[in-house]
């Protein structure tokens, strides 16, 4: 990526490779565990339910083992930055609000949560004046409401505020 642009590294490429390979191996191990429970041999009606996933997971584990070995043997002079601190901040600045947004959908419904989400972004990252923020974020939700609830009649999750307005 942009290893030479001067920003300090938050993670090295090597760390990231190792973590991802390890996660792959963990997932593979979980699948193997459950496949063995289901039976990986030959039943009276052909291969048992765990047969196919077992070999799939075996390939996952073997390939990630090789990937892991490759990551561990990278020579120091070839070390690259996976993500710089500044970049990571930007990525987290989107990821954390997105997680909160997803949690809010369950409480407030998707329309109100979207108003807050879009509004937060514009105000915090975009530094727009309040009237601008309000117009875009509310307008966005109104447009989606019209498209989904009215035009295509696909109900999306709604919360207490829609109930108050009698929009359910």
């Amino acid at each position: 990526m942009s290893g030479e642009s001067g920003g300090r590294a938050a993670f090295s490429q090597k760390t990231a490779e190792i973590v991802v390979a390890a996660v792959f191996m963990l997932l593979g191990a979980i699948v193997i565990f459950d496949s063995v429970r289901l039976g990986i041999g030959w039943g009276e009606d052909g291969p048992e339910a765990g047969y196919f996933p077992f070999y799939v997971a075996l390939i996952i584990c073997v390939s990630s083992l090789i990937n892991l070995a490759r990551a561990l043997t990278v020579r120091p002079e070839k070390h690259k930055t996976f993500v710089e601190i500044g970049q990571l901040k930007l990525v987290l600045a989107v990821l954390v609000p997105t997680a909160i947004y997803t949690a809010l959908i369950g409480w407030l419904g998707i329309y109100v949560a979207s108003i807050l989400f879009v509004g937060f972004f514009m105000r915090w990252l975009g530094k727009y004046p309040w009237w601008n923020v309000l117009a875009v974020s509310v307008g966005n939700s109104v447009v989606f409401f019209l498209i989904f609830e009215i035009w295509f009649s696909i109900p999306l999750p709604k919360g207490p505020i829609e109930a108050l307005l009698g929009l359910n």
């Binding site: 699948v31 289901l38 030959w42 799939v56 390939s63 990821l95 997803t102 514009m122 975009g126 009649s153």
Partner: protein, 504 residues
């Protein structure tokens, strides 16, 4: 000339006012999707798929629905070129090669020329691929009617081994990512015995992982996170296309007929064999560079350097629908999403489709001709409009795209758990992209996993566990053999390289 007759019937289906309107709507939506970061052919179609559920219930509705979705795909293929040429940001992975010569042209003030060349060669590439589909797919389908479980499994095997053999990523990363897709597909009910697998008592996992959620997360959220790293602003050249520039460029384009033919051939081949549009565009750029008289000037702003990758990308993207329709094996992630759509609407993709759903198949093929004409008209006339979309600041467009993705993920099964899964897949997509684990084989594995497993187990039942059934006749044997060669190809090429080193 059965095909011509069927095609004419197809045009009769496709040429209703409703379907024509849907074509334009689809193309316009598609171009917008192709231009926006984080939305592309695959996840754009995935997000809009739930909107077609109701449409597909009406008589003739499935044809309208596939016309809408496939036109979104054509639009996205066209749209990728706009951002590559004007902003040096490939809106789609297959337009990376277009930036090599497209952006230098735009910097020289020849953006209009570059765009016209890109759109026109996209159109030519698509046209060649559609003609190939028209005449080749009935033959393939007729041939495939005789297929049993071993043959189908061999086709799947060939598809997935081709990914390992032809992928530009490291073979073991491709394998790991592909097999993770198969493991995700196995979650839920076992397709043969009905046993619950890998659910660990969670009710959310009963239905398994939906590939639509995976596509929206991997390609949508992951892409936005990647784009964010580059900062929040886009800088780009402005574009105007007027009739004069278009006509002048069109006068110039026939000069490059050799490049066009070569690229279209590369594209069709890579689309049918699941190599996909992205490698096709790179390969054809490389080929053009080697064979062109102006090869050494490539990269400085050569129209020919735009023609080559665009023709191939569009040809491959279109040709990817051939194996999807005839065998039920998609050649690209977007084709996989379209295949998922067919399954949801209650159609069985595969050779029987050509017998049982003639109207649907030929309506779709006819719409490919018309949709690409519609696409060419739309992009040539509306470029400034689409370029303006990219001037909307990222702090406004990014959350809106996130909201669109969330709504898309929710509407698949009306479940908020799916929205969480989308976020998880998004983080995975971001990591995978940065560490060059390929996403396409994973998506295809999620889509095809159950069917590949069923055909394998049925074949095993027939042979009572004897693996030699995959070599039992010339057809299945040659497919399996070819698959194994492709699978071993990375190792072999490594060996050859070593051998050369020691010899020299």
């Amino acid at each position: 000339m059965d095909e011509i007759q069927s095609l004419i019937q197809g045009f009769a289906v496709a040429l209703s006012y409703r379907n024509l309107a849907l074509m334009f709507v689809g193309v316009i939506l598609g171009v917008i999707i192709g231009v926006l970061p984080g939305l592309g052919g695959a996840n754009g179609v995935a997000i809009l798929l739930p909107l077609t559920f109701a449409m597909a219930q009406t008589p003739g509705g499935t044809t309208s629905a596939i016309i809408l979705l496939s036109c979104i795909y054509w639009g996205a293929l066209f749209g990728g070129a706009i951002t590559s040429i004007l902003f040096n940001i490939p809106g789609e992975p297959w337009s990376v090669a277009t930036t090599f010569d497209g952006y230098p042209l735009a910097q020289k003030g020849r953006a209009g020329e570059a765009l016209t060349a890109a759109f026109t060669s996209s159109f030519v590439g698509a046209l060649v691929a559609v003609i190939v589909i028209t005449f080749l797919s009935p033959i393939v389908a007729r041939f495939a009617l005789e297929f049993g479980p071993p043959e189908f499994f061999a086709v799947y095997l060939l598809t997935f081994c081709a990914f390992v053999g032809m992928s530009r990523e490291h073979a073991f990363k491709t394998l790991a990512s592909m097999m993770l897709g198969f493991a995700l597909a196995a979650v839920g009910t076992d397709p043969v015995t009905g046993t619950l697998r890998l659910t660990f008592g969670s009710t959310h996992m009963l239905a398994g992982f939906d590939f639509l959620i995976a596509v929206i997360g991997l390609f949508g959220i992951g892409e936005i996170l990647l784009t964010l790293e580059e900062g929040l602003a886009f800088k780009g050249a402005s574009a105007k296309i007027n009739l004069g520039v278009v006509l002048e460029t069109w006068k110039e384009l026939p000069k490059y007929w050799r490049t066009s033919i070569r690229s279209a051939a590369v594209g069709c081949f890579m689309g049918i064999v699941p190599g996909g549009a992205t490698p096709a565009s790179f390969m054809s750029y490389g080929v053009a560079l080697r064979f062109s008289r102006d090869g050494e000037k490539f990269g400085t702003g050569q129209v020919e350097g735009v023609v080559a990758p665009e023709t191939a990308a569009h040809a491959a993207g279109t040709a990817a629908l051939l194996p999807m329709l005839t065998l039920g094996v998609p050649g690209s992630p977007t084709a996989a999403v379209l295949l998922g759509g067919l399954l949801i609407w209650g159609l069985q993709p595969g050779p029987l489709l050509f017998v049982e759903q003639k109207d649907f198949v030929w309506g779709l093929i006819a719409s490919m001709y018309l949709g690409n004409i519609a696409g060419l008209i739309v992009v040539l006339t509306c470029v400034p409009l689409f370029a303006a979309i990219l001037r909307i600041p990222f702090s406004v467009i990014a959350p809106v795209i996130m909201v669109i993705c969330a709504i898309g993920a929710y509407t698949v099964h009306n479940s908020i758990f799916d929205v969480w899964m989308m976020v998880v897949f998004g983080i995975a997509g971001y990591m995978f992209k940065k560490l060059s684990y390929p996403l396409a084989p994973m998506v295809l594995a999620i889509v095809l996993g159950d069917r590949a497993e069923s055909s394998f187990r049925q074949a095993m039942l027939v042979s009572q566990g004897d693996m030699t059934i995959f070599f039992s006749n010339a057809l299945v044997g040659s497919m399996t053999g070819l698959a194994l060669i492709l699978l071993g190809w990375p190792l072999m090429s490594l060996g050859i390289a070593r051998l050369r080193q020691t010899l020299s």
